[in-house]
Symmetry: C3
Subunit: 346 residues, 3 copies
Amino acid sequence: MSFLRNAWYCAGFTSDVAGENLYAITMLGEPLVLFRGADGKVTALADRCPHRFAPLSMGKVCEGQVQCPYHGLRFDAQGGCSHNPHGDGSIPKAAQVRAYPATEKHGAVWVWMGDPSRATAAALPDFSAIDERPGWTRVQGRLTVQANYQLVIDNLLDLTHAPYLHPFLASAEPPPPDFRPDIRMEQEGDSVLAINEFHRMPTTPLYRMLWERGEPPQHSTLRANMRWDAPSVLLLDTGASPSGAPREDGPSAPSAHWLTPESDTSTHYFWAAARDRYVGNAEVSAQMAGGIDAAFRQEDEPMIEACQRRMGGTDLISLKPVLLVTDGPAMRARRILSQRIEAEGV
Amino acid sequence: MSFLRNAWYCAGFTSDVAGENLYAITMLGEPLVLFRGADGKVTALADRCPHRFAPLSMGKVCEGQVQCPYHGLRFDAQGGCSHNPHGDGSIPKAAQVRAYPATEKHGAVWVWMGDPSRATAAALPDFSAIDERPGWTRVQGRLTVQANYQLVIDNLLDLTHAPYLHPFLASAEPPPPDFRPDIRMEQEGDSVLAINEFHRMPTTPLYRMLWERGEPPQHSTLRANMRWDAPSVLLLDTGASPSGAPREDGPSAPSAHWLTPESDTSTHYFWAAARDRYVGNAEVSAQMAGGIDAAFRQEDEPMIEACQRRMGGTDLISLKPVLLVTDGPAMRARRILSQRIEAEGV
Amino acid sequence: MSFLRNAWYCAGFTSDVAGENLYAITMLGEPLVLFRGADGKVTALADRCPHRFAPLSMGKVCEGQVQCPYHGLRFDAQGGCSHNPHGDGSIPKAAQVRAYPATEKHGAVWVWMGDPSRATAAALPDFSAIDERPGWTRVQGRLTVQANYQLVIDNLLDLTHAPYLHPFLASAEPPPPDFRPDIRMEQEGDSVLAINEFHRMPTTPLYRMLWERGEPPQHSTLRANMRWDAPSVLLLDTGASPSGAPREDGPSAPSAHWLTPESDTSTHYFWAAARDRYVGNAEVSAQMAGGIDAAFRQEDEPMIEACQRRMGGTDLISLKPVLLVTDGPAMRARRILSQRIEAEGV
């Protein structure tokens, strides 16, 4: 397993690490335990006691520290052993677990898997488009995909799969003669943008549902522009607007897609989606969360997992895939990521 | 995995590949998809799109071609990509999947796993004994055994296991003093015959049930002659007849046993059995199909799988089994098969 | 897998090998079948027919011998083939399975996994403390732990885990000011003793329940002294008595812990516990058996298995665990065992 280490990976939502809860998650093959200290800040430690290798996450939080479930050693926010209840209570020097920098942003908990001295807030791309805020309502969810995280990125950076996998998201009607698709790639720094804009597109069922203000037009401009940043965090700017009108005249539903490798062949997939229509409407929120969850679980996930199985344990590139023009953004992202992993020289 | 490549393997029954159905099966470790073209002929292709490695069998049949479920590429009967819905629609030269020769015979679909130029109808042994035809009724079924296919061949070529595994097929009564078993091996070309003939045998429950014309005799001549051909297709000529009378005076129930390796340690087992008594009688057909299925699933399969587990991943021969005289046919078949695999020089 | 071979391992309780039952168990990675011969003595054979490698344990006992379920070969108490029902009935010289020395003691069946000529009754440590006898009642049980047997030994030789894993066995009240714990290690020959004695200890709920004769005292002397012998058989001498009084004045509840590696990462755990209070009381027996079983299954087992998972396939020592003073007995036992395995030079 070779992953980018100096990066923020999403470990969960802020509500996953609440009260005296010990939250366990395996990231990049490493088991972690997260909990809040006495000051409310999130601590992320290696989830393995150095004594007998018990998972600390089976223990409990005592005064803002984690107590091992097996023999009661305690560890503080820096991963140091702070209490040994046995013998004369002396603490062996080696009684230390790895502590990972952790922070909270955009409603999620982020863990830095590399050199702690290089962890900076600036290294996390901006996802404020999906923040809960006045005029916007947010839904979120998670799933685990039994496939390498790069296959999930590939899926997100090539949305031409939509008509084949997602009938509800696609339009039932054929596009009119003056239909113009605009599909292209851009790169800004190390960010890759997969632009998908459709002019004179039959308005899709999703945007008809979200239109809210007046009758949805027969045709509209539809955008689904995906932004990828290393290692595996994506922002989808999507919405529909009347032809020629500003985007605010139609609904927007941006979404974040935060992928965290659990192992080489499984991926934690955290998502959050905001909208500027039917704000605060719980029924629409439930429909939207349910619809996204269903599309991921019933349509994308089985396909990505089937591809992974057909690839065996082999990497995509070494299987020499036939590439189409629509693979451009995914291939660009793979090249950037691979260069950055190589640059870490691990 | 080392298999005989230049041979026909049974992929299923003709009814498995019907209408616009995409039929998936893994043979010799290779996933295949089978479907009927516009002309009704069966096409067999590698079940993996060369673009993103999606299983084509998850897609659909469009105008006699298979459309990939992920991004919509289409492939024709020769495995060539015939349609790319993306960009300018140009088709990359490498967009090609392997096509396997396929044919239909004896109610089954056969796939040639080796060099297509060597595929000939003559390479398939004759199984017309089990064809549906006037005066005969046929039943069929399938199962998957979690064991190497050669262990299943061994089982079929040494029917002395019957009294231990199959109480219903054996006789409850002890044989009379003038009972004469005739168990021997013959070889005709590369076919191996395991002859099992029993004279003055107490008529077994199965043949009492199938007798139909008058009272079954107390004793009869019972035959269970198994013919094996490489790689793994067997025909059992079995029936009972009054002592000294022609075989037509008693019931015959020949059966085919077509074994197709799924992997080194699992085997597709297709079977078909005909009979010349109670022709067209659905109740007897149901009883017969149920009885065969039960004997395979509840008696042979658990035993063969238990042997496989006890052997670990090791080959039978390298474990140096103690051989009995009754292992003759199975050992002969193994030798012929091994020579033919070696001759292919793969 | 490297195990001590010249040693008695517990294969089960005497009642597991009863009547014409074929009892199967895998020990040290080797599948065994146990049954009683015509003379009632236990026979232990390799559970794999040398002909087609069928598990003999799927067969049946015929006249004190085991008959293979597949083709009917029979094997006697020495593992020799005694009957071949096929052909002329001659028996191939190689038709022989390994026979293991077996004996019965302390209500259990013991199998010698090494050189048969070195098997002596003296090699089994004394466990008469847990025998069923006048004045004592015994309960017993078994479980299988998905962890290396040495992790289970470690657990038993360091009972300081009790307050963390076993709240019922620990005391709810804080110890008084004059409480004196006496925790130390002794070695007698190759036996390791982990002494745990607590003076002026609040009497624990278990001993309050077992006290029987008069009111249990508020405080008592509690002992939990564990004896380990190679490879993996342990005796716990435990009981409570009034401070300064002889141990007979309070209840004793010694228990045996017989661990038999099934594989490198799974362990058969047989236990038996006697008591000298409420003798013959079935209700107390049920409570005691249930309590021990619950503590093992719900408290120790999940923890030991979690440690094993966190260790991956790696050995404890090579992971360089941080050691506490309380690890002394376990480390001593590991060293003795490792020296004895090395001395066998396998």
